[in-house]
């Protein structure tokens, strides 16, 4: 879907760069091939991008100006709506297995703001630094995720788990990913990446972790899954 926006934006001076935060690069590849994107479509199998820019869920975006300065830090970034993205809202839940229906019922309560986001990007393309959505360096830093020591430790534990997973010792990764979840419970990237190895897609409860997508979203409230866009 970013490709569709990109055709309008690129001639006006904006490039889209997508980064797949996937420890297993092969899982991202089919999506990239299917998208036939003209913009750079990168794979970050070490989750370096989340740490450098402060992404805690996907899809998330940052804006970088012509001089390489960040003018909006990490926040929810949805490329729009179409039949595919909205299909989970219209499907008859009674036709699905009960646990899948429960998941979709929660997913329907998630609040995302694609219309506002695209309007903001348009405004930035049009007005550049004068756009009311482009912020000063101090404001950008202030708006970026807080990073107490616990979050920095969570990043370290998450990376250690990835390293162990890559060396072929997946079981050794699990305690470190559990610790990352404990230290930074609001980080959905750490959780979803880890849960997905045990129970792909559904990310249900397994012996490996205390939580699951369904349990955790029920606990925080689906409306808090993405922080509101603050223009």
């Amino acid at each position: 879907m970013w490709q569709e926006q990109r055709t309008h934006w690129y001639p006006r001076g904006l490039e889209v760069v997508t980064v797949a935060l996937d420890v297993d690069a092969e899982q991202a590849r089919p999506f990239i091939e299917q998208a036939h994107a003209e913009h750079p479509s990168l794979i970050d199998s070490a989750h370096v991008t989340d740490e450098l820019f402060g992404f805690v869920n996907v899809p998330n975006g940052v804006w970088i100006d012509e001089d390489g300065k960040i003018v909006r830090p990490a926040e929810q970034a949805h490329p729009g709506r179409n039949e595919f993205t909205e299909s989970f809202r219209t499907i008859d839940l009674s036709t699905l297995p009960p646990d899948v229906a429960d998941i979709l019922r929660e997913a329907r309560k998630i609040t995302s703001e694609p219309e506002l986001y695209l309007e903001m990007v348009e405004d930035w393309i049009e007005h550049g630094a004068a756009s009311r959505y482009a912020h000063t360096p101090d404001e950008v830093i202030r708006r970026s995720q807080p990073r107490p020591d616990a979050h920095a430790r969570a990043a370290a534990e998450f990376e250690l788990g990835q390293w162990l997973h890559r060396t072929g010792d997946h079981a050794a990764a699990i305690p470190h990913w559990r610790e990352a979840h404990r230290l930074f419970p609001e980080n959905w990237t750490y959780k979803r990446q880890a849960w997905n190895f045990e129970d792909p897609m559904r990310q249900g409860h397994t012996d490996a972790y205390d939580g699951s997508w369904y349990e955790d979203i029920k606990a925080i409230g689906a409306e808090n899954y993405y922080a509101d866009l603050i223009p």
């Binding site: 904006l14 490039e15 990168l42 794979i43 979803r192």
Partner: protein, 117 residues
């Protein structure tokens, strides 16, 4: 950043964390934090523990595998961003070709994170 010894190669450290080791100290964007003299080793490398202490980076040890991992900095702003200057980001595309974020200098960039999961 995964380490097999508590010593940093400045080029690897910069590529992974965005922090450059310069004469004035450890620098990211316009921010430079002086390093203690003993942090700099004779061979041009730097002491990981001294850098970690200066920048507020946690060091987590995995004794069983003989590794340490250096977490991101907390000491300067207490936020995920220490500076609004975008760090260099070099990642492969789906064909394995390396791409540098800095190659888009002069254009606006919308950097979007997504995942298959």
């Amino acid at each position: 950043m995964i380490l097999r010894e508590l010593v940093l190669d400045p080029a690897e450290f910069a590529a992974r964390t965005g922090w450059q080791i310069k004469a004035e100290g450890a620098c990211k964007g316009e921010v430079c934090i002086p390093l203690p003299a003993q942090a700099r080793l004779d061979d041009g490398r730097v002491d990981a523990v001294a850098v970690a202490r200066t920048l507020g980076m946690p060091v987590v040890e995995d004794a069983a595998h003989g590794a340490w991992v250096l977490g991101p900095e907390t000491a300067v702003t207490g936020r995920a961003l220490t500076t609004a200057v975008a760090p260099e980001l070099e990642l492969p595309d789906a064909d394995g070709n390396p791409f540098k974020l800095s190659s888009l200098h002069g254009r606006k960039v919308l950097l979007v994170a997504w995942a298959s999961w």
